[in-house]
Amino acid sequence: MSYDDVEIEDMEWNEELQSYTYPCPCGDLFQITKEDLKLGEEIARCPSCSLYITVIYNMEDFLADSNQQKGIQPSKQQPVTVA
């Protein structure tokens, strides 16, 4: 059973993981790659536990412009100001 339905715009792009992520209740992150999204995959999994979420998105947004990502603007992680 899917833990939750999450819109792609509520997920964050994680540069390090090269994935869209969303908090998992275990403390880790649900993750899905652009490649998965292009293939129509809608399940984002957590690498640390059995839970997964259903990602709500428009596949065309990812197929149409794979480099520029004009269609959607998910939140990006901000750089952290040190000190």
Partner: protein, 494 residues
């Protein structure tokens, strides 16, 4: 000498000298000076020993002077607690408690009179403070013994140390030191650097000049409140949840200038939003900032994506709020009359609420805690009720899909009494993302995949089960429980 006198005592420990300085000052009931003396003791001892000898010396002197009723004042809480216990527990009325007994108690005290801390559950970011990056299914006792309260977030923990022990360990330090550990990749630990994990408790030194009285840990951000009412935030600011007017993240606590002329009493950090409770301001007392998509800010009936400066929560005017909490996309406030207000993401079967809704119940609550899909509320009689108990954190069977409840006006239909407590008076409650903990005994239920229930396995439980700490909780004066997303802490105080 007639009337009551006051005797102030203190011991000093010099780095470059092998002796302990003792100061004793006696004043009358009007505060007028009577007598004072100083002494040196050789060799230099541990602080707790020195403070004990100081008290002993004062007792001897007061006895010698044949003074009447005397109030002793000293800054070593440990010595004070131990001395009082010594008198009450053993019914010793003799004025000259023997030196050896005090010394012996001082040694024992470490075993019997200090705080104890346990952790269990998800630990792969070091959030359990065990020094290991692994989950624990059984409660692990930590060697950290100076903690007075905790806040647990997504995968990090913030601890406040108690004054007495701070004196014990750090002679010149004031009370209310802040420690943090666990995941630090967004700066949420406040150490001034971005690190994946901190395995052991580490001081948030930039707050050294403040006496921090209240802390909160969100998914990846943190809030700190000082005794003077200043609010500091650090960590992930991508949704405006730090309240600085931008979307920047910070790895050191930064003062929230919006509240610079106000007295902040509490902060509550959720997944991507924060709530603030002001002291002594009845009309504009609760503020929200950060992500507001599910209504969790409560600042407008319209849908708000996010705000990066605090705004007043609507609909709590004329209600005196004494506590706020936030977790996941939920928000809650508790009034002085015991009414519970919730807003944000709707609990199972209910729609999101963009403004605070008062729970329709005759019950009077004294504490409420939030998970990601459920809430617990405790009454003054020590009974515990659950809201939204239909998800993982649940009382009902996980795998039995219940028919969706009809939406009704009465939200009371959603409130279930936690069963199986057999009249046990519950003294504290805590909620993780999908699990719950309460104590009288420590009982846990909900999602258990990471061992967060502390029962020695990774199974879920649909109703409360006793988790053993291997310690008789009756020996503790109080026990508190705390939950992070997938982990749990228990703290006992002597």
């Amino acid at each position: 000498m007639v009337g009551r006198v006051k005797c102030n005592i203190d011991a000093s420990f010099l780095a470059n000298s092998d002796k302990v300085g003792i100061g004793i000052c006696i004043r009358d009931e009007h505060g007028a000076f009577i007598l004072a003396k100083t002494e040196w003791l050789n060799p230099k001892s541990e602080v707790r020993i020195g403070e004990t000898l100081d008290l002993l010396s004062a007792l001897d002197w007061v006895h010698e002077l044949q003074l009447g009723p005397v109030d002793f004042e000293l800054d070593s809480k440990r010595v004070q607690i131990l001395f009082n216990k010594n008198i009450t527990r053993r019914n010793i009325n003799r004025r000259e408690s023997s030196k050896s007994r005090l010394m012996e108690e001082s040694e024992e005290e470490k075993k019997y009179e200090s705080e104890r801390l346990w952790s269990w559950g998800a630990g792969t970011d070091g959030q359990l403070g065990t020094g290991r990056l692994q989950d624990e299914q059984i409660p692990q006792q930590l060697s950290l013994s100076s903690v007075s309260s905790l806040a647990c977030g997504g995968a990090h923990v913030i601890a406040l140390t108690s004054g007495a022990t701070a004196i014990f360990y750090l002679i010149n330090s004031a009370t209310g030191k802040v420690l943090s550990w666990g995941r630090g990749n967004s700066g949420q630990l406040g150490h001034g650097e971005v690190v994946n994990n901190v395995l052991y408790p580490k001081a948030v030194t930039s707050l050294d000049n403040y006496f921090i009285t209240h802390v909160s840990a969100g998914w990846s951000h943190s809030g700190f409140v000082s005794d003077t009412g200043c609010l500091f935030t650090c960590g992930d600011g991508s949704f405006g949840q730090l309240g600085h007017g931008d979307y920047a993240s910070h790895s050191s606590p930064v003062k929230v200038s919006y509240f610079v002329d106000q007295h902040v009493a509490q902060v509550a950090c959720g997944m991507r939003h924060s709530l603030v409770l002001l002291k002594g301001s009845l009309s504009n007392q609760v503020y929200g900032f950060g992500s507001g998509k599910r209504g969790q800010l409560g600042v407008s009936k319209d849908k708000i994506k996010s705000i990066n400066l605090p705004e007043v929560v609507n609909g709590l005017e004329d209600v005196e709020i004494v506590g706020v909490s936030a977790n996941g996309d939920h928000s809650a406030a508790l009034s002085v009359d015991g009414n519970l207000y919730t807003w944000g993401r709707g609990f199972k079967g209910f729609e999101d609420s963009h403004l605070p809704q008062c729970l329709n119940s005759t019950l009077k609550f004294t504490k409420a805690t939030l998970g990601w899909n459920h809430a617990l509320a405790m009454t003054g009689e020590g009974e515990v009720y659950m809201l939204g108990g239909n998800h993982l954190g649940v009382l009902s069977d996980l795998h039995t899909v219940r028919q969706a409840k009809q939406l009704t006006d009465s939200r009371e239909a959603n409130l279930e009494k936690v069963p199986g407590l057999d009249g046990t008076k519950i003294t504290d409650i805590a909620t993780g993302a999908e699990h719950s903990v309460l104590n009288g005994e420590i009982k846990t239920w909900g999602w258990g995949e990471h061992g967060q229930l502390g029962l020695g396995d990774d199974g879920d439980r649909i109703s409360p089960v006793t988790a053993s700490l291997g310690y008789d909780l009756n020996e503790a004066a109080s026990t508190r429980v705390y939950c992070g997303s997938g982990f749990t802490f228990a703290l006992t105080k002597p």
